[in-house]
């Protein structure tokens, strides 16, 4: 199965890349852009046929390594 983790900073945590991107978009003339948040995605190929187990494993990898739970949250999706 293929699993995708999307890792974002927790609400309220300052996001320097997001801020910089928002600024750059305004400079490019995208005046209607409001808040911008930047995060990471990690797509993994798992040797696992069961979607529920694949997702559970994704959750475990997220909590143990892929996200820093002090400042980040993540969501896991099974994408194929």
């Amino acid at each position: 199965m293929r699993v995708r983790l999307t890792v974002m900073l927790k609400d309220g945590v300052l996001d320097p890349p997001g801020k910089a991107i928002g600024h750059a978009l305004h400079m490019l003339g995208f005046g209607n852009v409001g808040e911008v948040r930047a995060g990471r995605v990690i797509e993994l190929e798992l040797d696992e046929a069961d979607p529920a187990r694949a997702r559970a494993q994704g959750d475990e990898m997220g909590a143990r390594l892929l996200a820093n739970m002090v400042i980040e949250t993540f969501t896991t999706e099974v994408v194929g």
Binding site: G12, V13, L14, D15, P16, P17, A20, R64, L65, L66, N68, V70, I71
Partner: protein, 222 residues
């Protein structure tokens, strides 16, 4: 003093650190490979600067799970002294041996220049050769040095005197409250972003960083 410097894949300031420690202690520190599972008998463990595992996930994240980190946790739990500089600081926060996290510099660029640090307290193993309020120069060289923690944690750090060093000339990387280095509650784990180990020789432009190493050397003189 018996000091050990941990080398992770991608560590690159272990030599600088060894020179600084040897200069103050007269004794070569041992280099410890990240795959080790036990530590030799040591007074101090140092996590030096660099880009462990390329810093490709988050700075320090993968190193925080290295086999040697279990031994370092044990060492710290037993009251051992641990110093983390730059990537070492990032690793200590990722391992949750120190609170907070180090985000991308506010200006989104790698920063490499000298900064001035203010010493916040002079009664720790790491700061005993300074007095509170002392200023010293240190080169910084990092892309992710923007220290953050939630307001409660920051208040606690301040309240309990666990801020070791602050940027004296504003916060070049956006760090909350100008924090450049923090301490564990028992004052035996210290992490900081700038590199005192790169300023211990007049030939390289000064010896501002030496008190840190002289203080440790004196504490563990034996």
């Amino acid at each position: 003093m018996k000091a050990g410097i941990v080398v992770f894949p991608g560590t690159n300031r272990e030599r600088d650190m060894a020179i600084a420690l040897a200069g103050s202690t007269g004794r070569r520190p041992v280099l410890l490979w990240h795959r080790e599972t036990e530590l030799p008998e040591l007074d101090l463990v140092v996590l030096p600067g660099g880009f462990s595992h390329g810093d490709y996930l988050r700075s320090g994240a993968m190193a925080a799970h290295a086999p040697i980190m279990a031994a370092i946790r044990g060492f710290a739990a037993a009251g051992g002294h641990v110093l983390g500089v730059c990537n070492g600081f990032q690793i200590l926060t990722e391992a949750q041996l120190l609170p907070g996290a180090l985000l991308r510099n506010a200006g989104m660029r790698f920063l490499s220049h000298d900064c001035t640090l203010r010493v916040e307290r002079g009664d720790t193993a790491f700061t005993r050769h300074w007095r509170p309020g002392d200023l010293f120069r240190a080169p910084l060289a990092h892309g992710d040095g923007n220290y953050i923690a939630d307001a409660g944690t920051l208040d606690r750090l301040e309240g309990e005197g666990l801020v070791a060093f602050r940027y004296a000339d504003g916060s070049p990387n956006g760090s909350a409250r100008g924090i450049a280095g923090v301490l564990s509650p028992n004052l035996r784990i210290c992490g900081l972003m700038p590199h005192p180990e790169d300023l211990v020789d007049p030939l390289m432009g000064g010896i501002d960083g030496r008190p840190l190493f002289d203080g440790l050397a004196e504490l563990f003189a034996a």
